[in-house]
């Protein structure tokens, strides 16, 4: 560590030995954390879910989640100790001295109020006249690159896009010229292009205002490009802190090294093409259109997946990639066009397909926290589909053990309930459930997006092993960096159409469509020197 806790004039935020405990078990959620942030700088607070980074972020606003309390240490914002403040003092402090930008802009804005009302509320300064308030509102909107006319101010939050909403949230946070701003994964729900704009806005605003920023994230790639200083949290403790370049170049703690290794690289030395595409592919989709009611979300889709091949479907939210993957597995019924699996037509609904077809095409869901029945043991989660599609097994324990092993879990997990598993383990169980019936095609719908970066890398490695064992993968993702790490071919979806389709190496190095080029340019490129 190169920085010591020596406050000087430029220090906006000082946290010293902060400990937060949970009731009633007295577990330390964060223990003895010390950080300082100077004006105009951003501290990237990195750690996986459950490491206590949000708890730390909220304690900077003198707020504790239910059943938690600060039991030691102190927090100073612009020289004022938060512990000494009364309820009223805290209220005056929030939004003025400290501001908070939450993860989901949609939940941060009141859907029933016009933007003008919300922005004025955020600037709760009674010394200003009405004219000055309006002037300040317009000024801050211009600064976050949003229109400042009356028509825009009269809008409701639902009339804005996700990126615009998040920029309004940023404007609300900066409107009172705070000393410290806490950003809790503000770009998680945004696609890469929007993320690039939002990060740029945050960077510029903290510098212009001389605000100290605390940027909470689990994404090392984003933090590396944004923060001046990085603090790594692991299991409630601060395990590493230093200037960004230094941490990236020479990570001191084992956990930091693991985090850096786990970040997927945008450009990789890609494996050479192996499959010869002449033979009839396993899955062939031709001229497929799909929609909901009268809205068409997919048009004229041509994709094919050969045996043992991994095809990635890349697209941002709303591009129709989940609709396509659900059509393949029979969960989305409203589609037309040709869909052949091993030469035979696939019916629109899973109930109209043969048991053999259902066995050979399996699906892994995006969110492992919702994909497992919380009332069933892992063993029954795996045996359920097996009994239905394959038949009553001679030796059920062997079936479960084999499926778990293919998902890189030991057989001892069979008797656990989902709540006894971590997010990564849950996703492995979902994969085990899917591969238990020995499918030929595995459809993976954003299966890593709900997981921490370090767990993501493990799941991708697991999928590669499955592919090497002969399974074909249809890998749906919005993360372009993952594509080059796993896929042989990639189809880029934009607004319901495939704009680019070809081998990953070609698409990544020489993208033809401007949408693909923009995607690649906006993704934070990241090359850790020390890992």
């Amino acid at each position: 560590m190169t920085q010591e806790n020596t406050p000087d004039d430029t220090t906006a935020l000082l946290v010293d030995g902060l400990t937060v405990i949970g009731r009633p078990s007295d577990v330390e959620i964060i223990s003895g954390v010390s950080i300082t942030v100077r004006r105009g700088e951003i501290l990237g607070l990195v750690g996986e879910s459950g490491s206590g980074k949000t708890t730390l972020g909220l304690s900077l606003l003198a707020h504790c989640k239910r059943a938690t309390e600060i039991s030691g240490g102190r927090v100073e914002v612009a020289g004022a100790d938060l512990a000494t403040l009364s309820e009223q003092g805290v209220r005056a402090l929030r939004g003025r001295a400290v501001a908070y930008i939450p993860q989901s802009p949609a939940s941060a804005l009141n859907p029933a109020l016009r933007l003008r009302t919300q922005l004025r509320e955020a600037l709760h300064d009674s010394s200003l006249s009405a004219g000055e308030v309006s002037e300040r509102v317009r000024e801050v909107l211009r600064e976050v690159a949003l229109p400042d006319d009356d028509a825009f101010l009269a809008r409701y939050p639902h009339q804005l896009s996700g990126g615009q909403q998040q920029r309004v949230a940023i404007a609300m946070a900066f409107i009172g010229r705070p000393d410290v701003i806490v950003l809790d994964e503000p770009t998680t729900g945004l696609d890469v292009t929007t993320q690039a704009h939002v990060l740029d806005t945050i960077r510029r605003m903290t510098r212009d205002y001389g605000t100290a920023g605390v940027y909470i994230s689990h994404d090392m790639a984003v933090v590396a490009g944004l923060a001046d200083e990085i603090a790594v949290m692991y299991q409630g403790e601060l395990v590493e802190r230093g200037r960004t370049e230094e941490v990236m170049a020479a990570p001191g703690h084992e956990y930091t090294r693991r985090l850096l290794r786990a970040v997927p690289l945008l450009r990789t030395d890609h494996r050479p093409e192996e499959s010869a595409p002449e033979e009839e592919p396993l899955l062939r989709v031709r001229g497929l259109s799909a929609g909901y009611g009268r809205t068409t979300v997919l048009e004229d889709i041509d994709v094919s997946v050969s045996r043992g091949e991994c095809v990635a479907l890349l697209g941002e939210s709303g591009s129709g990639k989940t609709t396509l993957s659900r059509s393949v597995v029979g969960l989305h019924h409203q589609f037309s066009g040709e869909m052949l699996f091993d030469g035979a037509r696939l019916a629109t609904g899973s109930y109209r397909r043969t048991a053999e077809q259902r066995r050979r095409v399996q699906y892994v869901f995006q969110n492992p926290y919702e994909a497992l029945n919380p009332r069933k043991r892992v063993r029954d989660q795996i045996l359920g589909p097996y009994r239905h599609l394959v038949g009553r097994p001679q030796d059920p324990d062997a079936v479960v053990a084999e499926a778990l092993e293919r998902a890189a879990l030991s057989a001892s997990y069979a008797n656990r309930f989902p709540e006894q598993l971590s997010g990564g383990e849950r996703q492995r169980v979902c994969i085990a459930r899917a591969v238990a019936t020995k499918p030929d095609l595995l459809v993976c719908d954003e299966i890593t997006s709900a997981l921490d970066v370090s767990v993501q890398a493990e799941i991708v490695a697991l999928l590669r092993n499955l592919q090497d064992a002969g399974m074909a993968l249809l890998f749906v993702t919005h993360n372009i960096a993952l594509v080059s790490n796993i896929a042989d071919r990639v189809a880029v979806l934009n607004k319901g159409r495939i704009v680019e389709y070809g081998p990953v190496g070609e698409v990544m190095s020489a993208p033809e469509h401007e949408y693909t080029r923009a995607l690649i340019a906006d993704t934070p490129d990241f090359a850790p020197q020390g890992a």
């Binding site: 949970g22 879910s49 259902r358 869901f365 919702e370 009332r375 030991s410 006894q420 370090s454």
Partner: protein, 296 residues
Amino acid sequence: MSTPSTPTAEAVAAPPRRRPGLFRTAWRFGRTKVGVVLTALVVLVAVVGPFVAPYTPTEFVAKPFETGVDGVLFGGDNRGRDVLTRFLWGGWTLLVLAGAAAGIGVAAGTVVGIVAGYQGGWLDNALMRVNDVLLAFPQLIAALLVMSIIGPQVWLIVAVIAVSHLPRVARVIREATRKVIEQDYVKAAEAIGLPRTRIMAVEILPNVTSPLLVELGLRLTYSIGVVAVLGFLGMGLQPPTADWGLMINENRQGMAVQPWAVALPVTAIAVLTIGANLITDGLSRAAIGIDRGVEK
């Protein structure tokens, strides 16, 4: 919480403890304990009562409304039968009727709720609109109406109360079902083509047990009240059966001279209702996670 150790290393360590179930979480609340004690007390009286009663319920041991007779602790009732004996005998009919009505009503309502919530479409609309019609009848008045047409019969009491519970339970369970079917494990079961009846039984039902238990407790409380009121109004069990509701009605004229014959059944019904209500409240608090706190 994810840990960075490798899966093999994790497997060696003992699996994390499961979060305590609904009953155990509910038991931590003081109100649940009080509720269980109160309910157990009344149930004990009702179940053991007939075996320890000093007389038979129809035996005449005193003059009407006579108190202070030797060997007759709480005196005689309007016909001179032993109040204590009739009190000890009169509970189990109430409990059985209320329990059966609540059980049948909740079971039927659950089936309707899950089917409507999961199948959706016209079936959902048809079931829920019929529900709305049933809901439009006030519980007690509907019961009185049916009773006065067909006549007071034991099975009819149970049936009428159960039917009046059905739409209320169905509405709650339908909402719970709608939330569960949004979850991906239901879609996973659909993708492998599991029959819909099995999906409802295996994937949905176990995941709506929390609202189900709360409903059961609530409907039990209501059933006790309705059965007692029907008895009081003479539409429930008929004399000379010993029944708490009936006892209150029979003895209310003599309340000034012989308060026990009314006070005992009233107290028992009140204690039972409050007890069941406290348990239900504890369960519902546990189900929505109030005061869960942070556990290791």
